[in-house]
């Protein structure tokens, strides 16, 4: 049958109103400079000439009744691959505020986002705009009776945490007396910059983060550490004194580890820790994925691969048989590589089986911590379904694991670190301290630091989220120098520092009224309340309303 072509409708035809973001353009304000179209990362914008009729009342039949006016308007591509992602770069560059993307809640594009038989994928974050559970937890055990409220501004506070295996006191004293090995530990700020790889982040972003972290440590005395993610580290960093602020990640693709191993003899200091990635919250069951767009010459060299090819890491560490064996062998090998002086810990996806992994670690004398990454974690590239619907929320996972450790009296021995959605709505200290009082020793934050330090545009409404294809409009996750030049590393460093300073202030503003200043309130669950009975019961905290 021949289709009717007069109406341009195919199964995949979409109108602008079917898309998640609509571009609103005011031609009266438009200067026709064309910057918006030039800067659009997905090329969705087209300036085009349009004609419209200008009806006129004409009494004389020798004249035509209407005039036509030609103007320049905006056409928004309705092609799924080139749909507007709502990043708003167009409005940022517009000199006259003539253009802006507007969120469209009735988007239908997702039904068509399967062109070529592949499921939808993106970078960024889970699309769940509902309020996060962590945002609803409040701190309600205010010291009003015998404890005068502390002065958050002037009192001395201690809130660093320990990363590393801590011995039972009896064992510590015994080993100290006999001069035996004592597992390495690091005293760090409990807010850790979560693992984002050198390939996922642009060189300018990475450099800015490292500069900011170094400033926090060396000038402000805030012992911030950052994790690399899979893919190694530039050799100059490996051989620099800044390595002590870096958690090196080894993941199933082992990318970057040739360079790392080769650099060991030349290292001036030890890394903060080694993170063995078994899973991540954003895409459980997947290994890391660096898409070909981002495999630049530098990245190819660091990872020891050809340029311009996809780099999918396997979902599991292929050389090993089971997580038990894997944990044991890899932790021991990595410990040995640094002469048992560097904490080594695994990172897993949030899961109902997290407790089993934890119990395994408790019995491994070299395991230093457990990092659990919840379903709200972000990533550079993943399938939508992995991001949105696969994984386990972090709060109950951390709580269950902590209470399990309490039962065994081992909560001080294996610190649990929490990740996945910490600060996803901007409330990073509220979220982190809730997790800490539920039992975490600290948190890892990725998306928050990208937003805070570099102005990442991503949001839970599927805004931007194009980290996977290397066209980040802010230059945060691109390997294209034309794009990442937009990001000034010095400015990123400045924002990193401001972010951590502000975090410090907020931490004190929570700890002071609770009467806590001597130590990080890990497991202080009596201070937590939530106006949700089910959540309160599940987390074993107070229901308040």
């Amino acid at each position: 049958m021949v289709s009717i072509r007069s109406i341009p409708s195919e199964p995949s035809s979409l109108s602008p109103n079917d898309l998640p973001w609509r571009i609103v353009h005011d031609e009266n304000r438009c200067t026709l400079c064309g910057k918006c179209a030039a800067v659009c990362p997905v090329n969705t914008l087209k300036l085009s000439y349009m004609r419209k009729r200008m009806p006129r009342m004409v009494l004389n039949s020798s004249e035509r009744g209407s005039n036509f006016k030609t103007f320049v308007g905006i056409r928004q591509s309705t092609d799924v691959g080139r749909r507007c992602v709502g990043c708003g770069t167009c409005s940022m560059v517009c000199p006259n505020e003539a253009i802006a993307p507007v969120h469209n809640s009735t988007d239908r594009y997702k039904f068509q986002a399967t062109a070529g038989g592949d499921a939808a994928k993106r970078g960024g974050r889970r699309n769940d705009a509902s309020s996060s559970l962590l945002d609803r937890i409040i701190f309600n055990r205010i010291s009003m009776l015998t404890d005068p409220a502390l002065d958050a501004g002037r009192h001395e506070f201690t809130y660093n945490t320990i990363l590393g295996r801590v011995l039972p006191p009896e064992e510590y004293i015994k080993r100290k007396l006999s001069g035996e090995w004592i597992p390495p530990t690091r005293e760090i700020f409990p807010f850790i910059i979560g693992s984002m790889s050198f390939g996922a982040l642009s060189p300018n972003m990475w450099l800015g983060l490292l500069q900011g972290v170094a400033y926090c440590n060396e000038v402000l005395g805030i012992p911030v550490v950052m994790a690399t993610g899979e893919g190694g580290c530039p050799p100059w960093v490996l051989k620099s004194p800044f390595l002590k602020y870096i958690i090196l990640q080894v993941a199933s693709g082992y990318f970057g580890w040739d360079e790392i191993i080769r650099a060991i003899p030349d290292m001036q200091c030890e890394p903060a820790a080694i993170e063995i990635k078994y899973g991540q919250g954003a895409k459980p069951g997947d290994g890391g994925l660096l898409m070909w767009f981002k495999v630049s010459k530098l990245i190819a060299r660091l990872r020891g691969v050809p340029e311009g090819i996809d780099l999918p890491s396997p979902p599991v560490h292929q050389t090993l048989y089971s997580i038990e064996e894997s944990v044991m062998k890899m932790i021991q090998s990595m410990s040995m590589a640094w002469n048992f002086k560097v904490p080594v810990y695994p990172k897993i996806s949030g899961s109902t089986s997290a407790k089993a992994v934890l119990n395994n670690l408790v019995r491994n004398p070299y395991a230093s911590a457990l990092l659990i990454d919840g379903i709200d974690g972000g990533t550079g590239a993943a399938y939508d379904i992995s991001l949105n619907a696969t994984g386990h929320p972090i709060a109950t996972n951390v709580r269950d694991c902590y209470l399990d450790l309490c039962k065994q009296g081992k909560q001080n021995e294996i610190p649990i670190f929490a990740a996945g959605g910490v600060g996803k709505n901007g409330n990073v200290v509220q979220n982190a301290l809730a997790l800490i009082m539920l039992g975490a020793s600290g948190v890892h934050m990725g998306k928050f630091i990208m937003q805070s330090a570099a102005g990442c545009l991503g949001s839970e409404q599927n805004r931007c989220n194009v980290c996977n294809v290397g066209i980040c409009p802010k230059g945060i996750t691109s390997q294209n120098p034309k794009i990442y030049r937009r990001l000034d590393p010095d400015k990123v460093a400045e924002r990193v520092v401001e972010t951590f300073q502000a975090i410090q202030v907020e931490v004190k503003k929570v700890m002071a009224p609770l009467g806590r200043s001597q130590s990080l309130p890990i497991g202080m669950s009596d201070a937590l309340g939530i106006a949700d009975k089910d959540a309160a019961d599940r987390l074993n905290i107070q229901y308040v309303c």
Partner: protein, 380 residues
């Protein structure tokens, strides 16, 4: 607000002198309870041998007393002396007190071959057994301590009223150490088990203030699996358990207590002669870091007393006395009430770094600063 008074003297004295200090310090509502610890006991009508275990508690009903007798006899204890308080019941608020127990027992014969450690364990397990028995019978049996040379009295009400109700001013019972704590309870309901002082295996503490780090500390101690680390009707009970853990379980000197509950900062440890050991100790005992304000007064086996401050030093504490007798109280007027005639030049107000130790000879105060080296033979 809680008020603390402690007196230690080479000659036994009446607990009423310590209660009078409570009265001198009384301000506002203090009627949630009074707790007394008497150590170095002397009875007017019994020649007590300090090695015999003493049971302190309350039987709320005749049945409970009967069950208690059954438990003690079953274990092989023989009753040597039963101190009958001539209590004026009209002055006690609570109506369900059948008998206040302060009894001296002869240790079971079967224990003669036991090591000291084993005996201490047996005494603890017997006390816990009695406590659990009371709890399973509607809280009709309360036990405060079972230990040689230690007696405890706890009751709800105003300190002076209770002292008079028990006729403690008649000197039928005296001691060389007396602790008294009167309190307005902070966290939990009024409960005899929430009354200070807290006792575990010869280690006893009382505190004023509020320990906001209570829950994580309790969780950690409960997880140690040591049977005595239970109860926690008060956030201050952990102070006794931490002192017990540090001195008895870890075998560290008394000075280490301060390093465990209020460790020094990195900068302070960097210049401390034992900084390396203490940095590690701070990590391994991190869950025992208290968050005061608190002033802690402790008593240890052998009639040693100690006073330690929290790191914020937001609770007052004053110590004064003469060689042979020392008193500590949360207010100067409390010390004055207990030892009015003394050389005030020896008065001492401990600061955040101090642990004051009064050794059994009671000749002078040992004032130890946390910044100084402490006697740790091997590790340091």
């Amino acid at each position: 607000m809680c008020r603390l008074a402690m007196k230690t003297a080479s000659e036994a004295f009446s607990p009423f002198s310590v209660i009078s200090a409570m009265e001198a310090m009384q301000e506002g509502y203090d009627g949630s309870g009074l707790g007394l610890l008497l150590r170095g006991l002397e009875f007017a009508d019994y020649n007590y041998n300090g090695k015999d275990p003493v049971l302190s508690g309350i039987a709320h009903t005749p049945e409970a007393l009967h069950r208690l007798d059954g438990i003690m006899e079953g274990k092989g204890f023989q009753l040597k002396y039963d101190h009958e308080f001539e209590t004026d019941r009209s002055m006690v608020e609570a109506q369900d007190r059948f008998k206040y127990i302060l009894r001296v027992y002869k240790q079971p014969d079967a224990w003669t071959s036991f090591t000291e450690e084993k005996i201490e364990e047996e005494l603890l397990m017997t006390r816990i057994g009695i406590r659990l028995d009371g709890e399973t019978h509607g809280a009709d049996l309360t036990v405060f301590s079972l230990w040689p040379d230690v007696g405890m009295i706890k009751e709800v009400g105003w300190p002076l009223e209770i002292g008079k109700a028990f006729k403690l001013n008649e000197d039928r019972v005296k001691s060389r150490i007396c602790f008294a704590q009167g309190r307005q309870n902070t966290n939990y309901g009024i409960n005899l088990y929430a009354c200070h002082p807290f006792f575990i295996q010869g280690v006893c503490t009382m505190t004023n203030g509020e320990n906001t780090a209570f829950t994580p500390i309790k969780d950690w101690l409960s997880g140690k699996g040591f049977p005595g680390y239970m109860g926690y009707q008060s956030d201050s009970e952990v102070f006794a358990h931490i002192l017990h853990y540090v001195t008895k379980q870890l075998g560290l000197p008394l000075q280490a207590y301060k390093h465990v509950m209020t460790p020094l900062s990195n900068a302070e440890l960097a210049v401390h002669p034992q900084g390396d050991f203490l940095l590690g100790l701070r990590q391994v005992c991190r869950r025992l870091i208290i968050d005061g304000p608190n002033a802690v007064i402790g008593s240890l086996p052998g009639e040693t007393c100690m006073i330690a401050m929290d790191a914020k030093k937001l609770r007052p504490m004053m110590i004064g006395g003469n060689p042979g007798e020392w008193a500590a109280a949360s207010e100067m007027c409390g010390v004055d009430a207990m030892i009015p005639v003394r050389d005030r030049a020896n008065d001492f107000q401990p600061m955040r770094q101090h642990t004051v130790i009064i050794p059994p000879d009671r000749q002078e105060l040992e004032i130890w600063s946390q910044f100084d080296q402490f006697p740790q033979n091997q590790a340091a």
